[in-house]
Symmetry: C2
Subunit: 308 residues, 2 copies
Amino acid sequence: MKYGVIGTGAIGGFYGGKLAKSGQEVHFLLHRDYDYVKSNGLQIDSCDGSFHLDAVNAYHRTADMPVCDVVLVCLKTINNGLLQELLPPLLGPKTIVVLIQNGIGVEADVQRMFPDTALVAGLAFICSAKTEPGRVSHQCYGSINFGNYSCKDSQCLNALLTDFTQAGVQAALVNYEEARWKKAVWNMPFNGMTVALNTQTDLLLKHPSTRKLIYEQMLEVIHAAQHLGVENIDESFADKMIQMTDAMTPYSPSMKLDFDFHRPMEIEYLYSRPLEIAHNAGFHMPKLEMLEALLRFSPSPAPPKGGV
Amino acid sequence: MKYGVIGTGAIGGFYGGKLAKSGQEVHFLLHRDYDYVKSNGLQIDSCDGSFHLDAVNAYHRTADMPVCDVVLVCLKTINNGLLQELLPPLLGPKTIVVLIQNGIGVEADVQRMFPDTALVAGLAFICSAKTEPGRVSHQCYGSINFGNYSCKDSQCLNALLTDFTQAGVQAALVNYEEARWKKAVWNMPFNGMTVALNTQTDLLLKHPSTRKLIYEQMLEVIHAAQHLGVENIDESFADKMIQMTDAMTPYSPSMKLDFDFHRPMEIEYLYSRPLEIAHNAGFHMPKLEMLEALLRFSPSPAPPKGGV
């Protein structure tokens, strides 16, 4: 299959790079790193084995890219408005668009832009970062779950799964709603709390007051999901997420990195949309509502200020 | 009447100073400023008219102080453990102890130390600060409400009221529970939120997300008080407090000043105790619980860290 990658950063660079290394035809859209990657290729420093791609199909505009079987959208959601213009050149009648993005409500909004396009949610469980131009550092994990949103071609979905697996990526097909909400159980507490207290995951869990708060926030997400009828999610999932995070090295979630580097934060899809969806169904998440309000107080990008 | 002031700072210096200026016999306990005040007196810079007290009855230990009719306790509550040792020399059989302190639960704890002593809550509505040794700056307001906790001598209470009034302080006798909880409606949101976001009252109310959050936190306190059977408090009181704060100049509440100057914060009586009292009665204040957890994450004194 022919792959397109929109956004060649920590996520797009890693998964696109793995696919390219395994022999797939991958076309990368690059922005700031275009010239560098065109000349020097793409370097993936990975805990699973580092590698370099010498010849990369690099583009700086999608108008020059071919129609693809699968497009991996790896932009920050704050840039999703650009998809209206970026995506069309890559879309054929059978193209699957995989949104490897954070948050809840992303697929609904992209579907509104492209009503006839097959959408799949990509949920990456990965610690990676773009450390310099053309260089991705993959620290740990790396699996990806695909949640089918509006793709009717199960054969193509299976091919996607096979390609990722053959590229050495642990991949699975999961229930869309369940996957998005389960990811939110970790994302909603840790992304905002590491920003609000300017810290990392380990210290939040080390201090009793914030360990309890993180747990309570996880329960808010779980109860909201249950209220919305999402299946296979119960309170034990919070314990599991806490245990998993206890076992991780100190970690700065993506929103914390955005904050640290004075980039806009993904407040909309990580907080506002899930809070709104729950609210419209009559369910409140008071502690996460408060976290959203704290995050919105200081709209990034802005220099960090002193604070608790 | 003979007055004792335990803690001659922004509050004790102001009210004790006003009483002394009006001719009352006032005995001041001082700590760091003892030598300075003994030599130079006490300067009150006040929006209502500045004045200087040349000869101050200054002490650096209560063992040297006389038994008083009224003791004004103006310590930070974090030092209330010291009262066990500080108070006895000043206490006679008819002494009233007025706790001019922040928070909820203070009287119950002091009463446990001194079961037979008449306690009165003092609720100061004042913007003042100790700016340098022996110098208090009173910026605005200044009234004080007295809530009777365990004083059975109404004559003495009335004398207290008369003395404050004659000293040019607007004073009133109010219902104890009502007064403590009404003060908490302002104190609980603004003290912690100015610390959590390292800001002042005006910016919290200027930004829509935090204005809404402050209002919701006020409602949590009001609903808790209603649940506890406190009278004369309804949602309109939140509007009144917001309007009052809108009209104030940008203000750093006492906890924010403690935070800025790396002093311990009064988390216990401003948050933990009222949250616990409500919790024990089956009522939850989720957003204020979260605020407590954020404040406890970074126990002051500590250098300020970067944050939201």
